[in-house]
Symmetry: C2
Subunit: 544 residues, 2 copies
């Protein structure tokens, strides 16, 4: 337990010290810092409690809404953080934490994060970021290059142009998707004769001017939930989100074309098709090349949400999976996913450096006309220098380094798929396209489940669903490993969604041994379930 | 100059080391880190070059859009960062850097930033943030308490309720304002008989259902430029931003009521009045208490943008300036401004814990119905644990500590105003309400400028404007100190805006001596200007 929180005197002298005097080497915070630097994984395994406390218990430690009056000494506070916060955090660095896209980070980001705070630059305007502004522009240019591979003259012309931008750095994929589709909306319903554009006149006047009922955004049902938020916040309304069924986990081009045409024939206008490069739930990649042609045919924007899968472009082995991404008008990519940058490094990259002028804005004290202030075309205002983390990663890993990491993850996912397939009590539900896969426990006695008649299948799947939920929770609570779960429709079981384990293989430190241990643990958990036992006992004839 | 970048081999072994082996104590990055910890201000003054290089020169260092193929050793890269990036950064910690809201941060944020990256929690869902979720909820509760001061039973009921939230943590004030007005829009055009709400049906159907032409947002002309972005992105259109003239730098309640009524009489609906607590340019606070009544009278939302001024609530001496903020439906506050938290700590606080349900959304793999995942009501998705920085600051400063810092800044601003007023060649343009003020160089011979006839006044003000721009730039480039500039309309010069120096006194280390030095430097710069000399030579009769 933490000791009583030691209170300091309320004096300016004390506060000045907080601003000017670093911690002593033997202070608690300095010791935490040293331990982090010396051996992060040891720090985490020593301080993060493996066996999880219930959320309700943890909430008790964070239940006081009163702001303390007296200042507290830093060291005393640091002890509280260790006891109450760090102890109950999730060890996302653990090689067996493979349930979400958050994983281990390389060491150099620890000191760099200190440098970031120490410099405290604000990227909204050049007056508070000087060299960080060109650095961010270069970094966006490198990412543009990764996707669109234009020639040197192109980058020489646009990289530092005050009237252009190759992209927008932002806090994450959601803001990136909103930014891209905001630009798309303002371009497609842009200024015209006697019309000052949707940004000025609003959607209602835009629909009237362009004589349309609604505008729509299309994606497969595997589209990220941020698309729903986007269409809501942009004022278009969730009913105009054309979410197409995707039993094969991808948006079928011919369905997209048919639905898009029908939608437009009804007096509506397609705003954008969103192709996904690495769906959040199964890691699938839409047929981007064909979807680009469909978007072209329909006369709408083509956006690719490559928040997760974009980094695959580093791999000469696998980049073909994203063929057609270079036709996209805009691309979302998150460096804090497969590029191992700390959270807060989202980007929209624009094919055309003039695109973002559709949302350009000015103010009197910053973002003045002609300035190179980055804030003039971003949705966010003040932002920190997170671009440095990506800039450094691009140099320290290099294209070659990223390729090795990406290739390793995808190959490990394939190996995991083999392990699952080779065990009679597991069912691989979706194959890994990139490094994500889904599977579940399905007893050998039910190996013919997918061919059973519908009602019986639904009934048995319901039982398996509850098993999957239960095993996933128990494994999480045991604290040794973590896989996530989701509900998806898959071809083999028709339109009724089933619950599956979801695994994201991104941590470079995860080994085949870790994966085997996770399967073993699941088998040992499920063995105790009476439902599972009843399956095992039943002769096959009785089930079918 | 940086040495040639040392390239590492492209091998998984090398990459694993980047993930598992920290820097040696004698590596460049470790030395940078130690210097930052030992004496941040010494690090900055040693590495940040005072005399500024031109932006075009700096851009040359960041002009390569090619991604390097081979990995680079961390230490080699760190040297490049020092030479090219740190050297050309802005020293926002300097006590004489008083031009923007970005200033010095307390020391404890350096190690905490490492802890943040080391833990790498993702706040969107509890599975990747466990204790950070309750911590963020508590922190939002403390801020709610600061504004709305409800009783203990209220916080006990709502702080950790899965169906409520007291606010939304986000990357900054812009996202906070968008979130607040998104919620307002979805509440005011919410679900109704035969209508599924604007979030589902879109603005066009909402206007039709509610039989209105447009919805509008009102603020004074001093409203932050993020309001323009907000009304654009929400689909309402910038033409429905009712920006009222504000010669006294505030939104006059009777004007607000009159304009609001006229707007509604024309078949429109007022969405929100935005009161500002600390305008970005002059630091003024709108008469919140009366504006709350106007909003009530008009039947619209009342939002307060207290991104800058919200921290004034810590001060028993000055909190009355924000009287009426407790009537606001939502409040924006940025902890990375006057609360000395690193960038990325914006918040919207909601008076009613059910407000944010107007934008609640779900997904299958996270944000499930009934979960306490924070992402269910935020605009952003993945977010880091920045709330920890605010949580720690609230404990380490305490209300008492923040009060001292706030009081000191406001008192220093008043002292600076006195210094300006007492010098015949300066004109205080706007008095400090909080810790921001504006002024300019105006020669003693023109002390009667505000009473001169209009044409002559405009002409002379134009000359002074160009002087202000020139002096501001020269002072910035000299690199010893920094004040910003803006253009504002002020009562004494009618509706024609004038250019002024803008000063933000937030750095607790800034002293009266620093301020005197800044005025002296400006006088010595301007003395060399021929325009200024000509003013000095002219007898007063000739000017008027």
């Amino acid at each position: 337990m933490a000791k009583d929180r030691a209170k300091a005197e309320v004096s300016l002298e004390h506060l000045f010290r907080v601003f000017t005097k670093p911690e002593n080497d033997d202070s608690t915070l300095a010791k935490i810092e040293k331990h982090l630097s010396d051996n992060l994984s040891d720090f985490l395994s020593q301080h993060v409690v493996a066996k999880k406390t219930s959320l309700e218990e943890i909430e008790k430690d964070f239940s006081n809404a009163a702001i303390p009056v007296a200042p507290e000494f830093v060291s005393s506070h640091a002890e509280t953080l260790l006891d109450k916060l760090v102890a109950q955090s999730v060890n996302t660095y653990a090689p067996t934490f493979i349930g979400h896209m958050t994983s281990a980070l390389p060491y150099f980001h620890l000191p760099l994060s200190k440098l970031l705070v120490g410099l405290n630059q604000n990227l909204v305007k050049i007056e508070t970021s000087k060299a960080f502004t060109p650095l961010e522009r270069q970094t966006l240019g490198m990412m543009h290059n990764l996707i669109y591979a234009q020639d040197e003259a192109f980058y020489e012309k646009y990289l530092h142009s005050a009237r252009h931008s190759l992209g927008a750095f932002c806090s994450g994929g959601t803001i990136a998707n909103i930014t891209a589709l905001w630009v798309a909306r303002n371009k497609i319903l842009g200024p015209d004769k006697d019309f000052r554009g949707v940004g000025n006149a609003g959607l209602v006047n835009a629909y009237r001017h362009y004589n349309i009922n609604n505008i729509g955004i299309m994606a497969s049902r595997r589209g990220h939930y941020s698309l729903g938020k986007t269409i809501d916040v942009l004022g278009i309304g969730r009913e105009n989100m054309l979410s197409l069924p995707s039993p094969n986990q991808v948006l079928e081009p011919k369905d997209a074309l048919r639905v898009g045409r029908e939608y437009q024939d009804d007096g509506n206008k397609m705003l954008a098709i969103v192709g996904i490069a690495g769906t959040t739930e199964t890691g699938h990649v839409d047929p981007l090349d064909e979807l680009a042609d469909v978007a072209n045919e329909l006369g709408c924007w083509f956006h690719v949400d490559a928040a997760w899968g974009g980094a695959t472009l580093f791999s000469d082995v696998y980049r073909d999976k994203l063929k057609g991404i270079e036709k996209a008008d805009s691309v979302t990519i998150d460096a804090h996913k497969q590029m191992y940058v700390p959270m807060g490094a989202g980007m929209t990259i624009f094919k055309d450096p003039a695109h973002s002028n559709a949302v350009r804005h000015h103010a009197q004290y910053i973002l003045r006309e002609g300035s190179k202030d980055l804030g003039a075309t971003t949705l966010e205002g003040s932002r920190n220098g997170m671009a440095m983390m990506l800039y450094s990663s691009l140099h320290i890993f290099g294209k070659g380094g990223y390729q090795l990491l990406i290739d390793r993850s995808i190959q490990l996912a394939h190996r995991f798929a083999e392990l699952i397939n080779s065990h009679p009590d597991f069912e691989l539900v979706t194959e890994p396209t990139l490094s994500i896969l889904t599977y579940r426990l399905r007893p050998a006695t039910l190996s013919a489940l997918s061919t059973m008649h519908s009602q019986k299948q639904i009934e048995l799947n319901k039982k398996l669903d509850s098993l999957t939920v239960s095993v996933q929770k128990q494994q999480r609570e045991a604290g040794k490993s973590f896989v996530s779960r989701t509900r998806i429709e898959v071809n083999q079981y028709g339109s009724v969604p089933i619950t599956v384990f979801r695994v994201v293989l991104a941590n470079p430190l995860t080994t085949e041994k870790d994966l085997l241990a996770i399967l073993d643990e699941q088998l040992s958990i499920v063995a105790k379930h009476s439902i599972w036992q009843s399956f095992a006992e039943l002769p096959e004839s009785k089930i079918a």
